[in-house]
Symmetry: C4
Subunit: 223 residues, 4 copies
């Protein structure tokens, strides 16, 4: 009875994704119907609990969470899965992630645009970096690759895969003028990664305003 696990675990994961939605909505990171969240329900076959498309993330309900397979097709629940389901599957496969979160904040959008020509954004020297999985010192340098936005999801998931492979140490990817994708070994890890990266984006973004004006260049922001 392989579905037993789903039956028991499913609702809890759905409740957790609903809570993530409320939390990020309160911070203004998933306005409109932006953002989408997923968590692995089973590995083999892959089953992903994921927010269905075009929903207000501050008003999610457990029934808005679908289960999809590796090909993005719905296996349980009613609704259309997020258009970006293939990106979630790609990340789960390449990173052995248990949860994938996509947010869409003002600072992430700005930095993803501003640093696009460099192919990414380097952040180093901040204590907050230690909240990223496996990072033990503020001297860590995190490179957040930036992928060009694309409405063709097959092409975009291929570009994302190439980027993930090229930057095996990266904890996150920015889509240009689109937002943040990050993940974790658990949903709690992924939530922490969102908070840490959003904090760092705001800090780096505000700092560059001062830097530009007063000839202060203490922070290497891009490679």
């Amino acid at each position: 009875m392989p579905n037993a696990t789903d039956d028991v675990t499913g609702p809890t994961i759905a409740d957790q994704l609903v809570a993530v939605g409320r939390r990020f909505y309160a911070r203004g990171w998933v306005l409109g119907t932006s953002g989408n969240f997923s968590a692995v329900v089973s590995d083999d076959p892959l089953r992903l609990a994921i927010t269905s498309s075009s929903l207000d993330k501050g008003a999610l309900e457990p029934s808005h969470i679908l289960h999809v397979g590796e090909d993005g097709v719905v296996v349980s629940g009613t609704g259309r899965p997020s258009a970006e389901t293939l990106l979630h599957v790609e990340i789960v496969r390449r990173r052995a992630a248990c949860a994938v979160l996509h947010t869409h904040s003002v600072w992430a959008t700005m930095l993803s645009d501003r640093h696009a020509l460099n192919g990414g954004l380097g952040i180093e020297g901040y204590e907050m970096l230690k909240g990223l999985d496996g990072v033990c010192t503020h001297e860590h340098r995190e490179w957040v690759p930036i992928v060009d936005n694309d409405q063709d999801m097959t092409r975009l998931s291929r570009a994302l895969r190439a980027t993930l492979d090229q930057h095996p140490a990266a904890h996150a990817v920015l889509l240009r003028r689109h937002g943040l994708y990050t993940w974790g070994k658990s949903l709690a890890d992924a939530v922490r990664h969102v908070e840490i990266l959003e904090f760092l984006f705001e800090t780096v973004g505000r700092t560059s305003l001062h830097s530009g004006r007063e000839g202060y260049h203490g922070i290497a922001q891009s490679s």
Copy 2:
């Protein structure tokens, strides 16, 4: 018994407008007694549920929602309708909108002033644009026309009508140093439009601070 529909639908719509008020107040988009909200209750004759004038939008109650006719005269409920009722009627008529929302944020106020001489603000290349009704790609260019503010509501509604006719694809209009008008096929659509446009105004506004300083002009902000 044509009023039966009103009697049944009215309270629900009033509750929804109250909830919109609380939500936007929390974000600081309707401080003071600024902002006003409406939703169509019946088409023929036109009946609009609309917030009455001079109220704290964070403390609305269903009894604060009036029903007005096409001429802006109250047909049910107690209180003075918003001074800007004619603008709501104009938008409902020209756009076949079912809901009209007016917010008054810091960023909308700033941009409506800053881009007034260009007659509007162009926003393009952002994924968030896809949340606007009928927009399927981030490559969309949204032109948000800006209308000069005016205390003469007849004159202002005429100017608004001309602007709506001149820009049939626009999802919103800014009144200079006054705020945002947007609308939708449903109240939920209109709420989503407010969130998306406020997000984009903040993003474009903050980006222009960087642009000015560092010779970065990646974003075409006005035509």
Copy 3:
């Protein structure tokens, strides 16, 4: 039995001042123990309900509201009245105000410093100005006088009185690097004035960042 009115009205006013504290604390306008609030309980003799000194405004309770006389001496309740009680009395007397609110936001603090040498800050052309009592058009020009801060409350209340007399149309006064004093014919009016002025301070403050950079000077910010 002249106290009957106090007994009945007092608790209600205390509850309202408590609610104002929670509301402004949520917005970050009365951090630390900053800010103080008062409302007139009786005119003759003057009785003012006022927050007692050094309290967390997000955690006020009705028992934290004292009643003081014209001389600032406590007539009922336990605790030390706010050190700035005399400023409240001064405003009540000069403006026939029924409520006086003092907030301490980042933007008010910055602008009170930045425009101090001009003796005040001029704000004009914003629709939001219409929320100020008696203002009917956005073409209104509001002059917010700035008074130098002083720890000698007798001297400061004298300076405040002179400023109020010199600017009879002003709806508010800024104390330099200290914050905002505004008032109203009712507590609700005073609350609305705080929200409107804080909105305008943020708008004018942010706009001047753009202005400085890009040679844009559309707004006359000081006389």
Copy 4:
């Protein structure tokens, strides 16, 4: 029965630290798992109630609060104490503090970096300074020393001790690109210090953006 006090006082202190976590999380000052809080439970031997390591500060529970001794070893409760426990102990000893709070805001992070080469940040002339323990006038000049960040806690606590000794009047210390440490004679005092300093950091940080641009240098920000 020396533990009786612990048994009675412990839970209450734990509840208070939990409430502090929720409050600061709401303001965005302890995102990710950043920040840590402690309060003295007994003086001799020293017992410190302190948040255990790597927790979401918005979702603390009383069971997450440990009791540690002077050497940072857990004496009651389950979990790993914060890696920075030694810094808390150092501050309690050098300042006779009853509570120590560490927050990690965007503005504190930025200023701790920007002023690091000056060894600290001077703030003067603000009314808000009066909320710092023992400060009676806005003419006070507060020097907030900045200590370089270090992953070696023994070395960092030694550096912190030297800084505390060198600046006996300081109410707080910044760790570079890491955040704020402040303290108080009570937990309420320490909370107030956090709010006041975070307010001042934002005010000084935003003001310097204007200063840089327009040749305005009214505020001495560093020695």
